[in-house]
Amino acid sequence: MKYLDEFRDPELAKGLLAEIERTVTQPWVIMEICGGQTHAIMRYGIDQLLPPEITLVHGPGCPVCVTPLETIDRALAVAAREDVIFTSFGDMLRVPGSRDDLFRVKSRGGDVRMVYSPLEAVKMARENPDREVVFLAVGFETTAPGNAMAVKQAAAEGLTNFSEIVSHVLVPPAMEAILSSPQNLVQGFLAAGHVCTIMGWDEYEPIAARYRVPIVPTGFEPVDILEGILKTVQLLESDQPGVENQYLRVVREEGNPVARAVVEEIYEVCDRKWRGIGMIPGSGLKVRDELAAFDAEKKFQVEGIVTEEPEICIAGEILQGLKKPNECPAYGKECTPTTPLGATMVSSEGACAAYHKYSRKGLS
């Protein structure tokens, strides 16, 4: 298939691997930001093929993983209401809150529906004027424009029965949180290609300069990832921190200005708690105050719900690249994809789930 096969080409991959081996002279720790990249690395076995000098650590870029428990519990509370049609992307349905997940709410009679586009939820609101339709708007900058567009559309149509639980998170503040930690190990980043498709890379220039790290917006296919690693290693070896774009076929320096404008119009930056990491200032998006009628947490008054995580889980350290999943004592034992204890095992894109699914690393 065009745009896929050529980026999965074994010969191109071999050439890039050879070039990485020729370039690297010392150990480097590189973090891939996005869970989609982690998934591809494990699925294609890229980590097995890299020279031993390169250590890949897995970043916080799995929106399902980092959605805080509070948000899940608030969503569950709203979804259980009789007057609500609760809509969500597919992979949020199985994410456990403190006691339940959306599937279980559905089994008890909650009207929970999976949608592929938030505009489907707006359509449901239009077709069901006597019901409240709520959409669980999670994700990074990538999904924010579509989710913002849903509010804009609902407002334009005068729909008063559509609202969102918004738990959007932003990548650059998370990168700064990782880099400014005294325990930080990360020396270079593969930035999340699709986030950069929306946002461009101007936000990354000051981070690269301040922390003297290379940041390479990178795609999701094996050849993309290997080329991203090669560029990062070249910048590291030549001591030239800065931003260099690998994902040329999709990412422009300015991103997508139309999409950015919609996000700006509907949402505003806020402090956000990340599951497994904690509060990161200025790292989230919420519905603008003047559009509060579309903010489901306000509409249904569930802002008060607060929760705690299981203590044994080291998801926070994994999401910051300090530890690998197989270094956790609970990995593959108390914590498996069917009994996830924390953020990184709950989603198929979480680092712990990817390790468990594709390699059983560290398990006999």
Partner: protein, 352 residues
């Protein structure tokens, strides 16, 4: 030689009925029930056993061990690109029986109909069941119809059970795999599951993906003729190819090593999988099978499969190994190796 009739083009007009939707009385055993059975169901399912309208079918079976299977079909939506719940219900049970190596002989059909189901829809489903049974060469010999109130089921549920007789000398088992055996897949993966997913509420998008629903009893017959040492066969429906292979590995206490580049997925199906973030290895198929055969018989079986309409794209996708017992591994396109695990549950479309 008489040409085989083209069942797909046969017309199937809806008989004149007093109602245009299913009523509770259609299941109450009175006149309306008789009307439904006589006018709608019997003309489609005629067989010597069914025509007697007894409470049971009495079958004269040839000698041999009897294979028996049952399955219930609740697919939503009931009509999807490439098929409907009717042909799925026939083909699914025919395949479950045929995977034992049996000659499939007879089916039962049980309907649960929701009050309000359009008779035209029911009739369309009956017609596709008739065509599917004729194509598979099996008789429908007994049946039952129940009607439930509106909201108690999703339009129509169908249960089918099937019996077949296993020829002398055939003894297949998922626990009989030996290192060195070849793993053969009859065609492309994920057609059915993606066809249904693309028309689901909330996910619908335009595509050319169609279900692969088909009866495979002709193909199993061809495989056994060419490969009398065949170890096992399975149709990878729910849970997909990955689940069936993991079941083999566990049952036989062996490992399976797959070659990713040998596994075929149609471009439109691959595109739909990419868009939704779904791995075709875990998606349901309804017209494909996996056969594990001794290495010495692999070539002959492959050729026989490729000469059959439902196996023209058959390929050896891997082999049985003594390493990593109980696990399925795959050589990735880049030459690395990864595990192909059991799925946790239904695959869900990813956020991004």
């Amino acid at each position: 030689m008489i040409d085989r009739p083209d069942f797909d083009r046969m017309s199937c007009p809806l008989p004149l009925m007093d109602h245009d939707t299913i009523q509770l009385a259609h299941g109450a055993g009175g006149l309306l029930s008789a009307d439904l059975i006589d006018k709608l169901i019997m003309p489609r399912f005629a067989s010597p056993e069914l025509d007697k309208l007894e409470d049971q079918a009495v079958l004269d079976l040839p000698p041999g061990r009897v294979a028996f299977s049952t399955d219930t079909f609740v697919v939503s939506p009931v009509f999807f690109p490439g098929g409907d719940i009717g042909d799925l219900a026939i083909n699914g049970t025919v395949n479950d029986v045929a995977m034992s190596g049996a000659e499939v002989i007879a089916l039962s059909v049980g309907f649960v109909l929701e009050e309000g189901l359009p008779l035209a829809d029911f009739h369309r489903i009956l017609c596709s069941m008739e065509n599917a049974a004729k194509k598979a060469g099996v008789r429908i010999v007994t049946g039952d119809t129940k009607v439930v109130g509106r909201g108690s089921c999703d339009g129509i549920f169908i249960n089918t059970s099937g019996v077949g007789v296993i020829p002398e000398g055939v003894s297949l088992s998922a626990a009989s795999l030996e290192p060195g055996d070849a793993v053969i897949l009859s065609g492309t993966l994920a057609d059915h599951g993606m066809a249904v997913m693309t028309v689901r509420e909330g996910l619908s998008f335009q595509s050319t993906v169609t279900s692969d629903t088909a009866a495979l009893n002709g193909l199993t017959r061809a495989i056994l003729a060419a490969g009398p040492g065949t170890r096992t066969m399975r149709d990878p429906t729910r849970g997909g190819c990955a689940t069936s292979l993991n079941e083999f590995a566990k049952a036989s206490g062996i490992g399976i090593k797959l070659d990713e580049s040998a596994i075929a997925v149609k471009p439109d199906v691959a595109g739909a999988c990419e868009i939704l973030g779904i791995d075709p290895m875990y998606v349901a198929n309804e017209g494909k099978l996996i056969a594990v055969v001794p290495a010495a018989e692999a070539e002959a079986v492959l050729e026989a499969m490729r000469n059959h309409e439902h196996g023209s794209e058959a390929a050896v996708i891997g082999k049985v190994v003594a390493d990593h017992p109980g696990l399925v591994a795959m050589k990735t396109g880049l030459g690395a190796e990864r595990i192909v695990d059991m799925p946790v549950g239904e695959q869900l479309p990813r956020i991004c």
